[in-house]
């Protein structure tokens, strides 16, 4: 039996079930007309293990970008254990099919050299949250990536150990307003200095930072830069850094 409901009623039903994947899956097989609405939530949260094999599998499964599940992905879009696939020119085309992603988390754990983020630049104009973890990519490239997302609000930088921190530093011409949260753990010194250089300034309302014994003025400077907007501040010192993310 064809199940035809007015679209606004169908939207109401599916919206109501947004946090119940098992119910959404049942809706998905109920009728073809229900599929697009249910996919919007079913595939909003994709955990993607970024390997060459997984990219090939994805392309094979969804050869037509206009019909790909990528368009439903919102958050989190997680890349882990990056192989050399990131340098593949096809990756640029592939990554741009995820043009509605709002949150990007790149974990480059295991890479002894810096991951290139060039192909990620501006791939999703609606990106609001960016987290980079365990990367030794040069800071210039990291900040070029940050500045390629005009609506970016939240920024997480964990264990950023740039290999070529001494390279030249060109301040980006534009930068997002950065009005959400900032989480920094490790690599504080170099990251904060670059952050303070951004042309649009810093407007974070929440900051979680690992305090640096060697350069305490950096944290103070960071707080001062956000003085008008900062409401929530969490300071963790190095000794308890291992517990940084446990409570929340």
């Amino acid at each position: 039996m064809a199940c035809s409901l007015p679209p606004e009623i169908l939207d109401l039903i599916v919206d109501h079930l947004r946090d119940k994947p098992s119910a959404l899956k049942k809706c998905c097989v109920l009728s073809k007309s229900w599929v697009p609405q249910t996919r919007r939530y079913l595939f909003a949260h994709i955990r993607f293990h970024y390997t060459e094999h997984s990219i090939k599998s994805w392309k094979l499964a969804f050869p037509d970008p206009s019909n790909s599940l990528a368009q439903h992905a919102r958050t989190p879009f997680l890349c882990e254990q990056n192989p050399s696939a990131l340098e593949d020119p096809d990756v640029g085309c592939w990554i741009r099919t995820f043009y509605r992603v709002e949150s990007l988390h790149v974990n480059a754990l295991g890479r002894s050299y810096g991951v290139s983020f060039v192909q990620f630049h501006g791939f999703s104009p609606t990106l609001r949250s960016l987290t980079l973890t365990h990367t030794s990519t040069p800071l210039q490239e990291i900040f070029n990536l940050i500045c390629s997302f005009p609506l970016l609000e939240d920024l997480g930088l964990t264990t950023i150990v740039p290999k070529r921190d001494t390279d030249g530093w060109n301040i980006p011409s534009t930068s997002p307003k950065l009005t959400g949260y900032l989480k920094i753990k490790g690599g504080l010194r170099s990251v904060v200095r670059r952050l303070c250089d951004l042309p649009s300034g810093l407007h974070f309302s929440k900051i979680r930072v690992s305090h640096d014994n060697e350069e305490p003025t950096l944290t103070t400077d960071l707080v001062s830069r956000c003085s008008d907007t900062l409401k929530y501040l969490t300071i963790s010192h190095y000794a308890s850094g291992a517990f940084f993310f446990q409570l929340r």
Partner: protein, 127 residues
């Protein structure tokens, strides 16, 4: 594990005039917490939390204990002057009588009942 954090420098929060919540995640030493809280000038400050779950409260003694007393005194003053009720997250030791150690380190606050003492428990359920 004992980590010397006595030289932990304080922060200057005087320019953060809209600050409402401050959370400190500290080790044994709380001197930097005390000096940092003293710099806060925000009239909107409503919440101060001290998370010391990374240490065993039973290991607090001597100079470190005095630092906790100083913090206790300061937070007590803040309660009196600004009605800011602090929240302290602590970890118990392995002994049965360790439960009151955290309270003893913040005696003024606990006597007046103006602090929320929360025992930290690992996600695995172990202490």
């Amino acid at each position: 594990m004992s980590v010397d954090v006595s030289r932990m420098p304080s922060l200057d929060l005087s320019k953060a005039t809209n600050l409402t919540h401050v959370v400190f995640r500290c080790g044994r030493s709380t001197q930097w917490v005390t000096t940092t809280v003293k710099t806060a000038k925000s009239k909107n400050l409503r919440h101060i939390a001290v998370n010391s779950f990374a240490i065993n409260m039973a290991s607090i003694e001597g100079a470190v204990h005095r630092e906790w007393e100083d913090l206790d005194h300061l937070l007590d003053q803040l309660w009196t002057s600004h009605s800011i009720r602090p929240r302290v997250i602590y970890r118990r030791g392995t002994g049965e009588d360790d439960g009151d150690l955290a309270s003893r380190s913040l005696s003024k606050l606990t006597k007046r009942g103006v602090v929320d003492m929360v025992e930290y428990k690992c996600r695995s359920g172990r202490r």
